[in-house]
Structure formats: C-alpha cells, structure tokens
C-alpha cells in the first residue's frame, strides 16, 4: 500500500503533504477518528442510538464530500501543472531543434561562397526546418482555439478517396514502404467538413508511415450505411498500458518518441475531436511490435 501511494505521489513531483492521494489517506484517518470522537461525545448527550447513528452518518457524508472535492481539486491543479510543464518542454525542444538547425546552416552559408547547386540543398534543408515550425505552430493554434475552430465547421460533399490520394502524395517516405490500397469502387460522396477530414486522414497516414516497419495498408469502404476508413501498419505498435492515453493532448508513447522525436502529441487528440464533431467514431487496435490499425467511421449525410 505505501509503495503504491509513493509511486502515485512521485509522478506529481510535489512534497508528500501536497500529494492528493496522501491527503486522501490522511483525511480518511481523521474522519475515522472524528467518527469515534463523535460517537463517544454523542453517546453522552443523545440517548436514542438511531439518532446517534444518523448524526454520525451525516457527519461522515459531509466530511467525505468535502474530502472528495479538496482532493479532486488538488489533483486537477497538479494535472494541469504537469500538462503545463509537458507543454513547455515540447515547445522548447521542438522549437529549439529546427531553430538551431536554421541558425547553424545560415552560419555556414554565410561563412563561404557556394555554387547555386550547393546552396540549393541547404536552402531546401532550411525550408524543411521552417515547415516543421509552421506545422507545429499550426497544430498549437488549432488546439488552443479548438472551440472556435469547431464553430467554423463548413459542410460540403467530398470524396474521401480523393482526399486520401491527395494526402498520400503529400507524404514523404523516409524509406521504402510497401503501400496497399483497397478502396471500394463507386463510393458515395460524403457531406462533411473537408478541412477537418483532410487533417484526420493526413494525421493517420503520416503516423502509419512514420511508425511502420515496411508496410502500410489503407482500406476505404461503405459499411452499415457509413463510410469506413482504416490504415494499418506493421510497425512498433502501442503498449497495453499506453493505449488509454493515445488520444490525450500532448501524449506520446515511449516507443513513438524514440522512433520520431519531433511529434507533439496533438495529431490524434485533434483527430478525435474532429471525427466526433463530424458525427463519427474513431478508434484503433494495436499490438506492441506487431503494428497498429487506426480507423474511423463517418456518416454519409
């Protein structure tokens, strides 16, 4: 028991007396002592045992409720503080990396004369790094104004296979990956927000290609009156204990961070919000070291 308590408290990085779980424990003890005291004191003044029982029960319920709110509030505050420091870490590392690259490449470009061809390669590297920053800030912007973004929902008829093909072309493969696409012919157009759908499809494809071993399979079909999209990879997969956090803001799996250190943990979080807003459902199946399949359903109209 104490080990579990200490483990829980350790994640908040605060002194023990500020740890919600520890406080819950302590206040629990106080309530027991309070009840005993109330019993001895009450039995002197209240003769009817039923009334005494009622008073003690009422006293316990009130204290437990107060205890719950205090601990819950403290837990929320500490969770927010962890989220804040994760956010700052991500910002500082993810901005620092491309900015240092840009700085060092520019220092080198200034230091001597280069031919146009030589310069071009370095300029492309500069562009890549700038795009990384822009992409990251774009996602932060979307996440910070998510309510506003969701209000801008604009429905129109779109072809999901066209959006998928377009995004497949956008993805730059870092190594050779076998791609298999299985798109049902004559799929109906769906009434949806193209920018949201585009974001979700790009995120799922980008992740699959990023974390796969050597194969990615895409399937789009009509199922039970809805459009079904699925992308499957044979990559690192997701650990059992990490599965519940996958759609959480800023969360990144340990293996995923090792394989691709530059993710910011917003793609899947935003994808889930968008798919839900569009009336659909998103999920995944995954096995560590075997791969993952991410899927979503969207209504046609």
């Amino acid at each position: 028991m104490p080990q579990i308590l200490f483990k829980e408290c350790k994640k908040y990085k605060v002194p023990l007396w500020q740890c919600p779980q520890f406080l819950f424990f302590i206040i629990g003890f106080l309530i027991v002592f309070g009840n005993l005291a109330l019993y001895f004191l009450g039995s002197k003044f209240i003769q009817d045992p039923l009334i005494l029982l009622f008073v003690i029960s009422l006293f316990t319920i009130i204290l437990l409720t107060i205890n719950y709110f205090i601990v819950h509030f403290l837990e929320k505050t500490l969770d927010l503080s962890i989220l804040k420091s994760q956010f700052l870490n991500i910002i500082s590392h993810h901005l620092n990396s491309p900015l240092t690259n840009i700085k060092w490449i520019l220092e080198y470009l200034i230091s001597k004369d280069f031919s146009v061809n030589e310069k071009e390669e370095y300029f492309l590297a500069l562009k890549d790094n700038l795009e990384r920053i822009r992409d990251m800030l774009g996602k932060f912007n979307l996440a910070s104004q998510i309510d506003l973004t969701l209000k801008k929902l604009k429905l129109q008829k779109v072809s999901i296979s066209e959006i998928t093909q377009k995004n497949l072309q956008k993805i730059q493969l870092p190594f050779s990956v076998e791609v298999k696409t299985e798109i049902e012919p004559n799929l109906p157009e769906i009434l949806t927000d193209p920018s949201f759908l585009d974001f979700v499809i790009f995120t799922l494809l980008d992740n699959a290609f990023r974390y796969t071993q050597d194969r990615v399979e895409i399937k789009i079909a009509k199922k039970r009156g809805k459009i079904y999209f699925e992308v499957k990879d044979n990559g690192i997969g997701i650990e059992e204990k990490e599965k519940k956090y996958i759609f959480e803001r800023f969360y990144r799996g340990k293996e995923a961070t090792l394989k691709w250190p530059f993710g910011i943990g917003l793609g899947l979080y935003l994808s889930k919000i968008f798919i839900q807003k569009l009336g659909g459902k998103i999920g995944f199946n995954s096995k560590k070291d075997k791969g993952s399949t991410f899927w979503f359903y969207l209504p046609i109209k």
Partner: protein
C-alpha cells in the same frame, strides 16, 4: 589538408587520398538531422577530419565499435535508441569506453546533463547556446 586541390593537381589522387584518409582523425556524428550531418560533414572535412555519420542510436553504436573513432558527437533525442542509452552502452563496452563523447543536443533538462556527465560524457553542449565555430573549437581542443 585540402583534398579538393589535390584532386585537381595530382594524377595519383587515389593514393594520396587513401594515405591521408588513414591519417585523418575520425569523428562519429550520431545525429538524425540530415541538414546538420551535411553541414558538419562539409565543415569537418574542410578542417581535415574524417566524419562518419550515423542517423540513429543503433547504427551509431554499431559504427562506434566497427570504426573506433577518435571522438563521438552524440545527440540525445535519436530514433531507435535514446542517446543516453547509447552513451551508457559506449562506456560499458571496453572497446569504446575510452572514446571521448561530446553530447550535442537541445535537451536542456538538468537531469539529462547530470546523467550524461555521470555516464562519462566529456562535455555536454546545448546546441542553441553555441555557434558552429564554438562547437568546432571544443572538438579541436579535445582532439589535440
């Protein structure tokens, strides 16, 4: 040591190049950022060093054992194996433990700095705080 000039002037470039290459001090750069690999490759080659590139922790460890470089430049956030684990493995292996390692990263957390120095890193440089010239000075100082 200007290899380009020798290539233009000398007919026996292949021989001269091989001779020089075996004399050059070898630096292994374990860094997944291709643009930085390219920039460092150009600068260090000009300065007369031989640069070997590894783009992830796993191949970095493999190359360190195979090539026995004179110095290793090591980023921490790396694909496949984290830089601190690479450093630990390097310092545990008798074949590589004597090779000086400069940690060159954007990770500024004090835990990471302490851990790297405890594991035996020669120095810890936060990329954003240095110019390329300053990094080169550190490299040259260690290799002298």
């Amino acid at each position: 040591m200007d290899l380009t000039q020798k290539k233009i002037k000398g007919r026996h470039f292949g021989f001269i190049y091989q001779l020089n290459k075996s004399m050059l001090k070898k630096i292994l750069f374990i860094e997944d950022e291709r643009a930085l690999q390219k920039t460092f490759h150009a600068i260090l080659t000009e300065k007369g060093y031989e640069l070997i590139s590894a783009y992830d922790g796993e191949s970095g460890l493999k190359l360190a054992k195979e090539e026995k470089p004179d110095l290793i430049l090591l980023d921490l956030i790396l694909p496949k194996i984290h830089g601190l684990d690479v450093l630990e493995a390097l310092k545990k292996d008798p074949a590589t433990k004597e090779i000086p390692v400069i940690v060159l990263t954007n990770v500024e957390q004090i835990d990471a700095v302490q851990r790297a120095l405890e594991l035996g890193a020669t120095t810890y440089l936060v990329k954003a705080q240095y110019t390329i010239e300053e990094v080169l000075e550190k490299i040259e100082k260690i290799l002298k």
